[in-house]
C-alpha cells in the first residue's frame, strides 16, 4: 500500500474517523448532549466532501485494482457527503420532536455515508458488496430507531428481512459470475466478456440474479413493495437520506456493473431492464396519485424517479451515464429539500403527514413555501430547474440511442406526476390555513433549504459546468 493509495481513499478514512469520533464525543459529552456529535458529523462529512473533489485525479486504480479513483467516484463521494451533511442539519429538530436522544444516530449516519462512498469507488463486486452491507446494516438500525412506534419497528423489520433477502440475491449472483468468469473485478469481467463469444449458463444466471438484487435495492417494480412501508416507518430524516443517498449509491453500482462491466452482454438484459423501467415509472406515479399521506406520496414518487433513471442505464452511452449523474445530483437536492420542509411541517400539532398540514403554508411561511414550490416544480420537471434539465438530458440520451418509445413513456409519466406535485403547491398557496400553523424554523435549516433551491435553479439554468464535469467524470 503506497501513500498514493492512502491519499486516494482519504475521504473514506475521514468519514470512518468521523463516525468513531462521534461516538467518543457522545460518550464524553455531558447529559447526552447529542448536538456535539451532530457538529462532529457535519464538520467531518463536510471535509470529506471537499476532499473527495480535490482528491480526484486522473482515473487511476488503487489498492491492487480494488478501488477506482476516478471522476465519477469523486463526484458521488462528494454527493454522499453532502446528503449526509444535509440530513444531519435536518435531524435535531426531528429527533427532539420524537424524543430520540441517541448520539449513535449521527455515528450511524456517518457509517452509512462511508458505505456509500465505498460503493461509489469499488472496482470489484466484492468491495461493492462490503460497502453495500456497511450502508445497509447502519440503515437497518436507523430505520427502526423509533422503538415506541409500531410503524417504525415494522419498517425496520421489513427492511432488515427484505434487505438481507436482496443482498443474498446479489451475493449469489456474484458467486455465479465468479464461477463463470473467474474474477470479481469489474475490469477483468469486462475484458473476459469482450474476448469470449457468448456467455455461459453460469454467467447468465449470475447476471439475472444481480439484476434482481439491484432491482430490490433501487426499489424498482416489481421488487418495490418494501419501500413505501419502510419509507413511511423510518424517521423522516432517514427517509430523506435513503431516498436520495442510498438510491444514488445503488445506481452508481448499477452504472458500473451493468452499464460498463456487463455492457457487452446488454442484449440479454436490456429488454428486461426497459420493461422494468416502464413499469417502475408508471406504477410509481399512478400509485403516488392516490396517496393522502405526503411521506408515502414522496416514497412512491421516488420509485417513479428510479424508473426515469433506469432509462439512462438502458440507453447505456457515456452521455446517458453523465445524464444519470446529473439527475442524481439534482434529485438529491430537490428530494432532500422536500423532505426537509416536510420535517418542519410535521411539527404542526398532530405530527401527521396529511396534505392538510400544508394548508396556507405559502402565506404563513413565505420562504418555506417558496422553496417547497421550487422543489415540487423541479420534481415535475418544469424549466429552468435541475429536474427539467436532468429529465431532458436522460431522455435525450435515450432517444439518441434509439429508445424513442421509452423516452416518450417517460415524458408522459412526468405529465401524470405533475398532478400530485401540483397538489402540494396548490394546497400550500390556495387553501386557507386552519388555526395556528406556525412552526419553528431554525436559521441553519432555512439556509439549507434556501441554498438547495437556489442551487436547483442555478444548475437548471446553467447546466453546462455540471454536464461537462459529469461527461469528464464518466469512467
Amino acid at each position: 500500500m503506497s501513500l498514493n493509495d492512502l491519499l486516494g481513499i482519504l475521504p473514506e478514512l475521514v468519514v470512518v474517523f468521523t463516525a468513531l469520533l462521534a461516538i467518543v464525543v457522545d460518550i464524553a459529552a455531558k447529559e447526552r448532549n447529542v448536538s456535539a456529535s451532530q457538529g462532529v458529523v457535519v464538520f467531518g462529512l463536510g471535509i470529506a466532501g471537499v476532499l473527495s473533489i480535490f482528491a480526484a485525479t486522473d482515473a487511476e486504480m488503487l489498492l491492487y485494482g480494488q478501488v477506482f479513483n476516478d471522476g465519477f467516484a469523486a463526484w458521488f463521494r462528494a454527493l454522499f457527503a453532502f446528503v449526509g451533511v444535509l440530513t444531519a442539519i435536518f435531524s435535531p429538530i426531528y429527533l427532539k420532536f420524537r424524543h430520540i436522544r441517541l448520539g449513535e444516530y449521527y455515528a450511524l449516519l456517518a457509517m452509512c455515508v462511508f458505505g456509500m462512498m465505498v460503493m461509489a469507488s469499488a472496482a470489484s463486486l466484492l468491495l461493492f458488496f462490503v460497502g453495500l452491507e456497511t450502508m445497509s446494516i447502519s440503515l437497518y438500525v436507523l430505520v427502526g430507531l423509533r422503538r415506541d412506534d409500531p410503524a417504525s419497528v415494522e419498517g425496520g423489520m421489513k427492511y432488515l428481512v427484505l434487505g438481507a433477502f436482496s443482498s443474498a440475491f446479489l451475493l449469489y449472483g456474484m458467486a455465479l459470475i465468479y464461477g463463470g468468469i473467474g474474477s470479481l473485478e469489474y475490469n477483468v469481467i469486462a475484458q473476459t466478456l469482450r474476448e469470449s463469444e457468448g456467455i455461459g449458463p453460469m454467467t447468465a444466471s449470475g447476471i439475472a440474479l444481480l439484476l434482481v438484487g439491484f432491482a430490490f435495492k433501487i426499489s424498482a417494480v416489481p421488487f418495490h413493495f418494501w419501500s413505501p412501508d419502510v419509507y413511511e416507518g423510518a424517521p423522516t430524516t432517514i427517509t430523506a437520506f435513503m431516498s436520495t443517498g442510498a438510491k444514488a449509491a445503488a445506481f452508481i453500482g448499477l452504472i458500473r456493473v451493468f452499464g460498463q462491466s456487463l455492457a457487452t452482454t446488454s442484449e440479454h438484459w436490456v429488454t428486461a431492464l426497459s420493461a422494468v423501467a416502464v413499469v417502475t415509472m408508471t406504477v410509481g406515479n399512478v400509485v403516488a396519485l392516490r396517496q393522502q399521506n405526503l411521506k408515502r406520496m414522496l416514497a412512491y414518487s421516488s420509485i417513479a424517479h428510479a424508473g426515469y433513471l433506469l432509462v439512462g442505464i438502458v440507453a447505456g452511452s457515456r452521455e446517458a451515464f453523465a445524464a444519470s449523474g446529473y439527475y442524481l445530483i439534482g434529485y438529491a437536492l430537490m428530494n432532500l429539500g422536500a423532505f426537509g420542509v416536510l420535517i418542519l411541517l410535521n411539527q404542526r400539532g398532530k405530527g401527521d403527514y396529511s396534505f392538510d398540514a400544508l394548508k396556507g403554508m405559502g402565506t404563513v411561511h413565505p420562504v418555506l413555501g417558496l422553496t417547497m414550490a421550487v422543489f415540487m416544480l423541479s420534481l415535475i420537471g418544469i424549466p429552468p430547474t435541475a429536474g427539467f434539465f436532468g429529465k431532458l438530458y436522460v431522455f435525450s440520451a435515450a432517444i439518441k440511442e434509439g429508445h424513442l418509445l421509452l423516452a416518450i413513456i417517460g415524458l408522459l409519466n412526468s405529465a401524470i406526476a405533475a398532478y400530485y406535485y401540483l397538489r402540494v403547491i396548490s394546497t400550500m398557496y390556495m387553501s386557507k390555513p386552519e388555526g395556528d400553523v406556525t412552526v419553528p424554523q431554525p436559521f441553519g435549516y432555512k439556509a439549507a433549504l434556501a441554498i438547495s433551491s437556489i442551487l436547483i435553479i442555478v444548475i437548471g439554468m446553467f447546466p453546462d459546468q455540471l454536464v461537462e464535469a459529469m461527461l469528464r467524470a464518466v469512467p
Binding site: 402565506t363 416544480l377 415535475i380 418544469i382 424549466p383 429552468p384 427539467f388 431532458l392 438530458y393 431522455f395 435525450s396 432517444i399 439518441k400 424513442l404 423516452a407 416518450i408 415524458l411 408522459l412 412526468s414 405529465a415 405533475a418 398532478y419 401540483l422 397538489r423 403547491i425 396548490s426 398557496y429 390556495m430 446553467f462 447546466p463 453546462d464 454536464v467 461537462e468 461527461l471
Partner: protein, 504 residues
C-alpha cells in the same frame, strides 16, 4: 439587444417586485406598471426598426447558452411574431392597469407572476432556438397556474389544475418531438446537433411517416393551446375562473401560442404531413366555429359566453391557416391580433360590472345602458368588432379568412360563413338582454358608470380595433412577406400537385 431587453425588463422587474416590502402596495404596482410600459416601449422600438418587405428574421441575437448540447440564446423577429410581441406587451400594460383596483390580496405575488408571465410570453414568440422556445413555453405555465389558482373564482383549483395538466400533457410530447428534430439537425459550423430553429427548418426533410408523428407530437401541444375542438374543454373553465386580467392574457396571448406554433413549426418543418392533415384540422376548426357559437348562445354567464366565443374565433384562425393560401394565412394572422384586442376588451368589460355586482349572470342585469351609458357604448363597439362589422378589425380578418377558405374549398367557406352569423346572434342577443329594456333589478339602477381608470385600457383597445378596421395596411405589409415564405414550400410543383389531389 431589443428582443433580449424586452424579455429582461419584465423578468428583472418581477424579481425586483419580490424584493420590495410586502406592505408598500402602491410602490409594487407602480414598479410593475413602469416595467410593463418600458417593455411596451421596447416593443415599439422593435416595430420601428422592423424592415418592411423582408421575409426573414430580423434583429437576430445569438449567444451561447448551453454549448454542450447546442442550445443558444437565439432570438429574432419576423412578420409573424412582430405583432404578437407587441400585442403581448400592450395587453400586459392594460392588464396591470385593470388590476389596479381589482386585486387587493397578495398584490406582491400577483405582480411577480404577471411580469414573469410576460417575459415567458415574449420569449415564446421571439425564440429562434427550440430549447429556448420550450423553456419559455413551460415557464409560462407556472405563473398562469398561480394567477388562476390564487386570484381566481370559486372553482379555481379544479380549473387551474385542469389547465396545467392539459397543457403539460401536450407539451411533453412536443419535447419528444423537439428532441427528435434536435438529433436530426446538425450545425454545419461545428458538426454537432443543434436546437437552432433556422437550421432545423432548413434541414427538415423527414420521411412522410416520420413527418406524421412529428406533426402530431408538436401539433397536439399546439392544438390544446389553441384550443382545437375537442381539446377545448379546459378553456371555458380556466377563462371563467381566472381573474379578469388572467382571462385577458389567456385569450389575448396564450391561445395564440398554439396557432403561432402551427405556423412556425408544423407548416414549414412538416409540409407533407401538413397537407395530409389539412382536411382533419379544417373540419375540427369548422366544428369549433359552429359548436363554439352554438354553446356560447346558451350560456347564462357572460364570461363563459366570451370563452366559448373564443373557441369559435380560434376555429376561424385555424381554418385560415390551413387554407394554405395567402389570403387565408394573412387573415388568420391578422385575426389572431384582432381576437387579442376584441376578446381582451370583452373580458375587461365583463370585469367592470363584475366588480360592481359580483355576478356575471346575464339574467342579473338588464337595462343597464341607462345607468352606465359610456360603458354601454364601449361594450357595443367591442361587441361589433368581435362580430366582424365592417370598419372594425374583426371584419378585415374574417373577410380574408373566408376568402382563403372559399378558394381552398367552397364547403368550408359556406360553413364558416354561418359562424359569422351565429356570432352576431350570441353577442347581440347578450347585449340586448344586458343593456336594453327596463331595469329589472333595482340594484342595477344605481350602478356607477365606468371610471377613467377602468375605461382607459378599453378605450385604447377600441381605438386599435377601429384603426385596424379602417387601415390594416401597416400590419399586412409587415406580415405578408414572412407568410409568403411559409407558403413557398407548398407552392413548389410537387406540393401543388398534392394540393390539387387533396380529398376536400
Amino acid at each position: 439587444m431589443l428582443l433580449t431587453l424586452s424579455i429582461a425588463i419584465p423578468a428583472i422587474a418581477s424579481l425586483l417586485v419580490l424584493l420590495l416590502p410586502r406592505t408598500s402596495i402602491s410602490l409594487i404596482r407602480w414598479t410593475s406598471l413602469g416595467a410593463s410600459v418600458a417593455a411596451f416601449i421596447v416593443s415599439l422600438a422593435i416595430y420601428a426598426n422592423f424592415q418592411v418587405g423582408e421575409a426573414g428574421f430580423q434583429m437576430v441575437e445569438k449567444l451561447a447558452w448551453i454549448p454542450s448540447i447546442g442550445a443558444d440564446w437565439h432570438l429574432g423577429v419576423d412578420g409573424i411574431s412582430l405583432f404578437l410581441i407587441i400585442l403581448t406587451t400592450l395587453l400586459t400594460v392594460l392588464c396591470i392597469i385593470a388590476s389596479w383596483n381589482s386585486i387587493h390580496e397578495r398584490v406582491q405575488e400577483y405582480h411577480f407572476f404577471f411580469l414573469l408571465l410576460e417575459a415567458g410570453m415574449i420569449g415564446v414568440f421571439a425564440a429562434l432556438d427550440l430549447f429556448v422556445f420550450y423553456v419559455m413555453w413551460e415557464v409560462m405555465l407556472v405563473p398562469m397556474f398561480f394567477l388562476i389558482g390564487v386570484w381566481g373564482g370559486k372553482n379555481r383549483l379544479y380549473a387551474t389544475i385542469k389547465f396545467f395538466l392539459f397543457t403539460m400533457a401536450g407539451s411533453v410530447l412536443m419535447l419528444a418531438g423537439i428532441l427528435y428534430v434536435y438529433f436530426n439537425t446538425v450545425d454545419p459550423a461545428t458538426g454537432a446537433h443543434t436546437f437552432n430553429l433556422l437550421l432545423a427548418t432548413e434541414q427538415a426533410k423527414y420521411a412522410l411517416d416520420v413527418q406524421r408523428w412529428l406533426f402530431l407530437a408538436f401539433g397536439l401541444a399546439f392544438a390544446i393551446k389553441v384550443p382545437l375542438f375537442p381539446l377545448h374543454t379546459w378553456l371555458p373553465d380556466a377563462h371563467t375562473e381566472a381573474p379578469t386580467a388572467g382571462s385577458v392574457i389567456l385569450a389575448g396571448v396564450l391561445l395564440k401560442m398554439g396557432t403561432y406554433g402551427f405556423l412556425r413549426f408544423c407548416l414549414p418543418m412538416f409540409p407533407q404531413a401538413t397537407l395530409e392533415f389539412v382536411p382533419w384540422i379544417s373540419w375540427l376548426a369548422l366544428i369549433g366555429i359552429v359548436y363554439g357559437a352554438l354553446v356560447a348562445m346558451v350560456q347564462k354567464d357572460m364570461k363563459k359566453l366570451v370563452a366559448y366565443s373564443s373557441v369559435a374565433h380560434l376555429g376561424f384562425v385555424m381554418l385560415g391557416t390551413f387554407a394554405l393560401n395567402q389570403q387565408g394565412l394573412t387573415g388568420s394572422l391578422l385575426q389572431q391580433i384582432n381576437h387579442g384586442i376584441s376578446t381582451g376588451a370583452l373580458f375587461l368589460l365583463v370585469g367592470v360590472v363584475y366588480e360592481r355586482r359580483h355576478t356575471r349572470i346575464i339574467a342579473d342585469y338588464g337595462g343597464i345602458a341607462k345607468a352606465m351609458p359610456l360603458y354601454a357604448a364601449l361594450f357595443l363597439i367591442i361587441a361589433l368588432s368581435s362580430i366582424g362589422l365592417p370598419t372594425t378589425n374583426g371584419f378585415v380578418g374574417e373577410f380574408l379568412i373566408l376568402l382563403g377558405a372559399f378558394s381552398a374549398n367552397t364547403l368550408y367557406g359556406v360553413i364558416a360563413t354561418s359562424g359569422v352569423i351565429l356570432a352576431a346572434v350570441y353577442l347581440l342577443w347578450m347585449y340586448q338582454r344586458v343593456f336594453y329594456g327596463q331595469i329589472t333589478h333595482e340594484e342595477n339602477a344605481k350602478l356607477k358608470d365606468i371610471t377613467a381608470v377602468e375605461a382607459f385600457p378599453i378605450i385604447i383597445l377600441v381605438i386599435l380595433a377601429i384603426w385596424i378596421g379602417v387601415y390594416p395596411d401597416p400590419l399586412i405589409v409587415r406580415m405578408e412577406p414572412s407568410l409568403q415564405l411559409v407558403l413557398e414550400k407548398f407552392q413548389q410543383s410537387e406540393f401543388s400537385q398534392m394540393i390539387g389531389a387533396l380529398p376536400r
